[in-house]
Structure formats: C-alpha cells, structure tokens
Symmetry: C2
Subunit: 337 residues, 2 copies
C-alpha cells in the first residue's frame, strides 16, 4: 500500500479553507493526509480545524500560529501555502518551510514566475531549496494555468510560432464577494482611477504569466506594456452581493503585451467584470499550424485555483529540488479521482 503524502495547510483564508477541504476529500482515497494547519488570525488559532472549516466534524488538528512548531511535530511532506500574493511578504514563511525540509505549493501570484520582479529573492529561494532538497512552486488558475501553462501546451504541436494572443473574460457576478470588491465593482470611474494610482489594484500575476510564456518559448521580449482600464456598466447589474449602477465601474480590463522589433508577439488580455457576456478563455497561436483554443464559459476561477494547487502536490514532490515553475514540472492532471 502506498503511503499518503502528509500536508500542512499554511493560511486559512477563503482559498486555504477550500484547499484544506479538498485535501480532506482526497484523504478518503489514501493519497493525502492533512496533518496540520497554520494561521495568525486570533479568531482561528487554538480552534479545531474542523470548526474553522465549518464541516461539523472534529479533526483533531488544532490551528496554530507557530509554524516552526507545527513543522517540527507534524513532519509534513508538503505545505499548501495560501497567505499572500506578494513574495517579499511571504519570504520568511517560505524560508521556514524550506529549512524544515518541506516541499511548497503556494498560491502567491508573484511566486508563479518571480525571476523578473524579485531576481535576488528568486535566486536565494532556489539555492535554499536545493540545499534542503525540496521543490518550491507557485501556481493557481491565473496565474498558473489558463493564461500561461495552457498557452504553452497549445504550442506543443506547432513547428513555428510567430505570435500568441491570450484572452480571459470572467463574469465576476458568479464569483465570491472579495473578488467583486477587488475588481472595483460599484466604484465610480473617478474612484477607480484614484485606487489605480495606489498601484495595488488590478489582477496580480498578469505580467508573470506573460514572462513565463515568453521564457517557455525562448523569446526575449524587448519591452512590456501594461494597461489597466475600468469596464463601465452599460446598464444596471445586480449580483447577490452588490448593485452596479449604469455608468459605474463593473470591473477591470487589464492587458499586458510584449514584443521584439516594435512588433507585438505576445499579448494577454483579461476582462473581469460583473455582467460579462460570453465568458471564455482563449489562446490564439499564430503558428504552423495555427491554433484557436477556446474554453467555453471559461474555467471557473474559485474552484479551479483550489484544484490547481492540490493537483500540483504530486508533481512538486517528485520534481528535482529548487525553485520551479509550471513548465519545469510534468504534464498537469487531476490528482486522485
């Protein structure tokens, strides 16, 4: 009989709660075993994890804010890390995991392709991970799959690729409330522009997806252009959480592109707004042969992010040590169904 991989859940926000539940689900088949949970929220620390997950079952796992102690006592193989999007903030957490000899699968968007924004931290992480013989991966649905890994896979049957355009249109009406708020639904256009100036607005990871695809194709992009615009509601839109008046912001239109010799070779175009018609994911490869890949209705982000993280566990654990990206791992697939 195979030995299940032992998992610690690090971070119990909305995504972490769902990944923990999915690990419990997979435990039934003996592939995974949840052995610890870490969070700093005083409302969660000290409680049984079952209570925090609201699953009406005591799990015998007490939520702790002492990460090192959890690693020392629970001795996990891998940590599912879901605390923040930003590498400089999570670096000490990752460092602790690595020094405890634990593989990492993280939802941190910046970790999906950290080399450009954080060259020094990337190098340090890679060296530390190699020293402690573990693999470190950042993944998810976006960044992680629909606007990057899937596009790379689509080129696998091309002899030549001249340009790629990647689109994602998400109807945010169907997503959770924090996402609707994050994309500015219900703001005035002026409020949107003010928030934009803070630099912490928009989708995190789009630039990372672009650079991941470029590196996967061995393209040296000369410059990267990035734009963020509001999607304005043409008429009133109601969601279970809020109402957007006609003329108010319904969400974001975020684009990045890069090229060589003044020609755009790679562009990623993301629209996330409430009331979006015909949501979809698409990859258009101008290549030999050309590829027009569409995912009708798009990949539903909330559950797909959870899936991408849990499915990455066996791929990461069996990878060579170091800082990895999705293109360094074997072909992704659902884990244990």
């Amino acid at each position: 009989m195979k030995k299940p991989l032992h998992v610690v859940q690090f971070g119990l926000g909305p995504i972490g709660i769902e990944t923990a539940k999915t690990v419990l689900e997979k435990s039934k088949h003996g592939d995974l075993k949840l052995v610890g949970a870490i969070d700093v929220d005083p409302a969660k620390v000290g409680k049984d994890l079952g209570e925090v997950l609201r699953i009406n079952e005591r799990l015998g796992i007490v939520v702790s804010d002492k990460a090192e102690e959890v690693f020392r006592t629970a001795k996990p193989d891998v940590v599912l890390h879901t605390t923040s999007s930003f590498l400089d903030r999570i670096y000490p957490q990752l460092e602790m995991c690595i020094k405890s000899g634990v593989h990492i699968v993280s939802s941190a968007e910046e970790l999906f392709f950290p080399y450009d924004r954080h060259p020094k931290l990337s190098k340090d992480l890679d060296e530390l991970a190699k020293k402690h013989n573990v693999a470190v991966l950042g993944t998810g649905v976006n960044p992680g799959f629909v606007m990057d890994t899937l596009a790379l896979v689509a080129t696998g049957v091309c002899t030549r690729v001249r340009a790629i355009r990647i689109e994602r249109v998400v109807d945010a009406s169907k997503r959770r409330f924090p996402l609707q708020r994050k994309i500015g639904a219900g703001l005035t256009v002026q409020e949107f522009e003010e928030k934009k100036k803070t630099g912490t607005f928009g989708h995190i990871g789009l630039r990372e997806s672009l650079l991941f695809v470029a590196e996967g194709l061995n393209w040296k992009l000369e410059k990267v252009d990035e734009t963020l615009q509001p999607m304005v509601a043409p008429s009133e839109v109601k969601t279970p959480y809020l109402t957007v008046q006609k003329g108010q912001v319904a969400g974001i239109h975020h684009s990045v592109s890069g090229g060589t010799n003044g020609t755009t070779k790679l562009s990623l175009d993301l629209k996330m707004y409430v009331g979006a018609g015909e949501p979809h994911d698409a990859v258009f490869v101008d290549g030999d042969p050309p590829i027009e890949l569409i995912i009708r209705n798009g990949v539903f982000g909330d559950s797909a992010t959870v899936a991408a993280l849990v499915n990455a566990i066996p791929l990461t654990v069996s990878a060579t040590p170091g800082l990895k990206t999705m293109k360094d791992l074997v072909v992704p697939r659902v884990f244990s169904t």
Copy 2:
C-alpha cells in the same frame, strides 16, 4: 554557447521527410543538428539527403540502410524514428538505437502507450533503455496530443472528474492522399466492411489514447468498447486527389470507450472523412469545475505530427531513462522559435 543536439532521422516516408526538414530549420538557431539519415528504400539509399528531401541543397549526409553503422559514426544524441506504426515490427530498430546509447522519439502509434497491447515488449524496452541510460517516447498529434495529453492537461484545474468525452472531427479533404486512402474515401460500403474484417483498418492509436488518459487519471476501466463505422457521403465530394460519389464511403467513424460499474466514464470519438463540416477538437470534462475545451477547425494533423515529434526532443533527452509516455515528461511546448 550551447551545444546543439545531434539528430539522426530514421525513416524517410512522408512524415520522416517533414521531420528532417524541420530539424534542418531548427539547425539555423543552433538547437539541433542533423547528422544522419536511415532508410531501406533502394530509391533513397546512397543519395544525398538534400536530394531525397527535394530541397535543392546538398547536405553531405548520405542516406544509409545500415543503421548500426550510422549510429557508430554519427554518434547522435537522439533519433527521430518514423518507420511504422506497429511495435513488434519496429522493436529490432528500437533495440539497436537503445544499444547505441541514443534517445528515441518515435511516431509509432503503438509506442504512445504500449503497455496494454505489448506488455512484454514494453517491459523489455523499459529495462533495456534504463540499462543504456536513454529515454524512449512515442508521440505525435493523435495519438500524442489532441485526444489524450490535452485532455489530461484540461483536468489539471479540476478537483474531481466524473467523466470525460473527447472528440475529433477531421476534414480529410485537406489532408495528404495516403491519409484519404487510409480512411477508405471512395470505397463502397461493402468494400469498407471487407477491409474492416482484415483488422488493419481504422485509426491506429485510439485505444492507446484511451488507456493513457485512464492511467493518467488513475482510473481502472473494467472494459473497453470499440466501434468502427463508415461515414457515408450524403452527396458527391471532390478532393484534389479523388472523387467520392454520393453513397460511397467518405471516411471513418472510430470510437472507443471505457467505464466502471456499467457507466461510461471515458469516451473518444474520431471522425475523419472528406467533406466534414466544422472540423474541431474537443475535450468535455464532467468535473468540478466542468471544462469545455474546443480547438476550432481542429489541429491540422500533418504539420502537427511533425511538430509534436520535433518538440518532444528536448523533453525526452532531459527525462530520466526508460520507456516514457507524454505524461512522464515536462509540459510540452514549441521548441526553439
């Protein structure tokens, strides 16, 4: 500067001629170098490869029917093997490549997932490859990508998968003549049924794709059903090579499916016929979340097969030794554009 991978082309049929040309194209970037060519056709042996490829350029590579000698003198890193679909026929060729310490990327459909049809040969190949420290892969567009690897990738963002349906509709009017003949275009229905009885008709590799996906999902299928029917032309169809009268065979409809407890969990449905409307590739995943992935117009088979083979070179060379399938390799992508 990186050292290019040295390649020998083994087999100079229609596919081999195109893979050799693509390797030459990639040589311009210094990623690959063609160092030898093997074929048994007396019309090709002894000729300069440039002449056989009809590229109006002498390459200084003489086509040889002495494989062992080519390997000994050219010392390639990898062989592009395109001689036959059937593993028992090509086994001695593969054996010779392996014993010469050469990695193999082969278009042989049965090699894509050989474990079911040829358990003994698969085991022998794997052991031999490990002994000689090389990797052996069978791939292509179908089997190899559209009806198997792509489907597996699509499940990478699902927490659970209940069933998968994979479709491919190919308009054979646009494909090369041997393919049109292979699918029976222009036969009467009776002639089709006679040819079917010989057991060497239909698409090769569909069962392999099914079993590959099942293994990738860790599904144990109880039984596999396979059907092969003619697609009958509802009206006259003309291609550059032939004319199919109304009521004659336009091509094939080939299906395989498998399941558990009397329920079909996985089905692959392939229609290849002249005059097919709305050609496409599709993967429908009944999962959480559900995925409806469509490639409009379908992946064009002739060039995509060539691409899949050449793109697999770097993935195979960097794999651990042994008999591999696409799910054991890192994420596919175009090689050197």
